[in-house]
Amino acid sequence: MDIKSRNISYSSGVKLLAIIIVWLGFLGTIGGCLFLLQNHGIASLSSYTETYSFQSNFSRLLYNTVEYHVALKSEDNIKDSAEDPQTEAENLQRLHRIENRFPTMVNFVYYVQNTETGETWTNINSETTDPIQFIQKQPAAAFFNGWTSDSSIPITENVADMLAGGPIEIYAAVAEPLQPGDVFYDDYMDYTQAQSDTNLASILTILSFFLMAAAFIYLIYVAGRREADGEIVPALIDRMYSDVHTILVFIAAFLSLLMVGSLSFNTSADLPILIAIAVILSLDIFIGLSYVLSMARQIKTGQIITNTLIYKVIAGTNAFMRLAFQGKVFKIWILLFLLGYALINGLLFMVCREVYYGHVNGLYVLSILILLGFDAGMLYLTAKSLAALAKIMEAAKQISAGNLDYPLDSSLMPVSFASFAEDISSLQGGLKHAVDIALKGERMKTDLITNVSHDLKTPLTSIVNYVDLLQKENLENETAAEYVNILEEKAYRMKQLIEDLVEASKASSGNLAAAGEKVNLQELIMQACGEYAEKIQQAQLDLHVQNTDEAVVIWADGKHMWRIAENLLSNVIKYSMPHSRVYIDIASDNGYGSFTIKNMSAFPLNISPEQLTERFVRGDESRSTDGSGLGLSIAQSLTGLQGGEFQLEIDGDLFKVTVALPLWAEE
């Protein structure tokens, strides 16, 4: 249940409801506040007697009363005292008007007395009640005489003039409870209505405000969360830089306030205007809410600072500055330098031009000289930099081509290129070190093999010698003689193995020197075939040499070439099918002289050419025949050592090997 309710409280439906509550609450609060502001005058008064309307009506009636009883008195009085007919007419008119007004005084009561004559005038029924007492009981009562006024209602100057120094005393009040029929009653009803409206509005406003606040706090709390303690999920709008967002929101608020202001000041509160204001305010509240919630989410994720445009700009500038001034990648001062150069050049040119048009010949020559000198200096510096760069590029090229000893002197280079050159140099050093270590390892391996082979050879010598001695003994036992023969055979095979091993290791590690000399390939093949003529015959093979017309002279080491031919031919003799033909083709093309040996294998060659040249791997894999299995490997290594190419092809039982070496070039 708990979990369920919590999940509900994070659901988007509840959030939407909260948003609507905030919206309505905001409108309610604003509307209520505006209403209260408008009715502030009425609402703040403790009684309707304090209203302006009451007071003005009261004092007007008081004036009328005083004017009637003190100044005008009666038609006779007016006729007697009138100085001219016009005044008399006016006063008469006035008298009648006041007389007409008296019946409308439903709630206004007065009591006027002349303390000298004892005359009194009142609209109160004096027979039933004492007028002075009655008036004084009323809440809005006033007493005036010539000297004093006992009233919260200010006395007008006209009244004061009329009473001044006279014996007249006036008691006046609005009698309560008010009776319908005059302005006081209407005012009172309006006032009462306004008071109750204001109270309701206050309650509604406060309620709206608290609802809005609660919904708002809830929204801020759940902003970005889909569940309790869940991860903060940024909304799309959060991608906007928060400072930009802030500025936009403030601009929107300012614009909407301007619009609302102009709308509400221009016209009285009509319904369309009110709706327009509500729409604008609604837009405002939505924009503001989304802004505040976005900020809340960003504060929660801690991005509020980093997700500002200012921060990004500062960080970017920092990075750029670091790159420009600390890093060696790019020197911003080169840019500044170029700009400065262009500027100075332009200035100098302008000076020249000015001086030229000023016809000051000596100065003209001088300024031209300065300009040329400046440019020549710049040209020199630029050329120097470019030369340094060219040097570095050449070094990099040489290093990548494998020339690890290529010297790169950075001492004469400009500072910026010198550090670059040093980096290249250290790269070269590292590479050289690695290559040296690899070479050293290879050399150590060869040395190890050589040393081990020396140690193996000494006991082998004894074996060979004593086997030979055994053979010379008269062995009665034929089986024993046969065994000794096997021993002899294996001892010689072991000798061959050891020698091949040393040679293979030397050839593959490049520890073998190759003396480049002129070698006639045809001569070599003939010599080799001559050496093997008898063995080829014994193996019942038919040898065919395909020659070229022109001599093929290669650049190679004759002894290595012989070793290659020897290994290949002994392979041919060992593994060829009897009665098959063996072809040796001599050719030259593309700057290479080559010979190709083709023969049919007596055994299936179910092995790849790559494996065949691997050390100790042989075509038959049984190792029953003599040989070390290193022959092809040695031939390949020796060919590589002399800068040649060694190619093996196996096509069914056809075994084809091509050795190509660079042709001799007259220098």
């Binding site: 050879k457 060979v464 004593y466 006639n520 001569e523 003939m526 010599q527 003529a533 020659n547 004759g558």
Partner: protein, 231 residues
């Protein structure tokens, strides 16, 4: 005739013993040593006509011993060593050794080399050279008698083989291609490349060389031709 003595020096006793057997079978007297200094000591105590010397030995190695021996003696020295590098061979021969045999050696080949050196040391110096005899090392060509001798032993050659030896002996140290040899010996132009010459050369080597695989006299210059070495 007085018995010829051979000094055998190797730190491996089995090898020394085996060599003793072989040398005694050939009729030589044997003195045994196991270090370089023992060999020098034995030389002062016995009359020695030939030395078989190992290189890698304790106390004094074979090369140092060779240098010391060569200070006052010119008796033949054959180095027998497990070191088979060309540089080792060259060093040994330069320090004054007469021959260099790598281990494991063929005992028969070694005996042949011992005999060859022994003959040169004991006999050749006393034989007066006749006119018309060409000589390089132990190889002699007697054009009058139409004989070829190696260390005094007559070698049987076919007319073609003899012709090739004569041509090459007359130009000691010069290298001739197959075509040149063919034209000179067969007296006809060589049209196509043939390995006849190479086959003949191989046969000659088998007759005159102790080890045809490592010829001393008739050498192959691979890819160029053949020559007889000048000593």
């Amino acid at each position: 005739m007085e018995k010829l003595n051979v000094l055998v020096c190797d730190d491996d006793t089995a090898i020394v013993d085996a060599l003793e057997i072989y040398l005694k079978q050939e009729g030589y007297g044997v003195t045994k040593a196991y270090t370089g200094s023992q060999a020098l000591q034995a030389l002062t105590e016995h009359e020695i006509h030939l030395i078989l010397l190992d290189i890698m030995m304790p106390e004094m190695d074979g090369l140092s011993a060779t240098i010391r021996i060569r200070e006052d003696r010119n008796i033949p020295i054959i180095i027998i060593s497990a070191k088979s590098e060309d540089t080792d061979k060259i060093a040994g021969l330069n320090f004054g050794a007469d021959d260099y045999v790598t281990k494991p050696f063929n005992p028969l080949e070694l005996m042949a080399r011992v005999k060859s050196q022994m003959r040169r040391y004991t006999a050749l110096g006393s034989i007066a050279l006749k006119n018309g005899i060409l000589k390089t090392g132990g190889l002699e060509l007697d054009r009058e008698g139409k004989e070829v001798r190696v260390d005094g032993e007559i070698i049987r050659l076919t007319p073609i083989e003899y012709g090739i030896v004569v041509f090459l002996m007359e130009h000691l140290g010069h290298v001739f291609s197959i075509a040149q040899i063919y034209e000179q010996v067969w007296n006809e132009p060589s049209y196509s490349a043939e390995n006849t010459v190479a086959v003949h050369i191989r046969r000659i080597r088998e007759k005159i060389e102790i080890n045809p695989g490592e010829p001393k006299y008739l050498k192959v210059v691979w890819g160029i031709g053949y020559k007889i070495e000048k000593y």
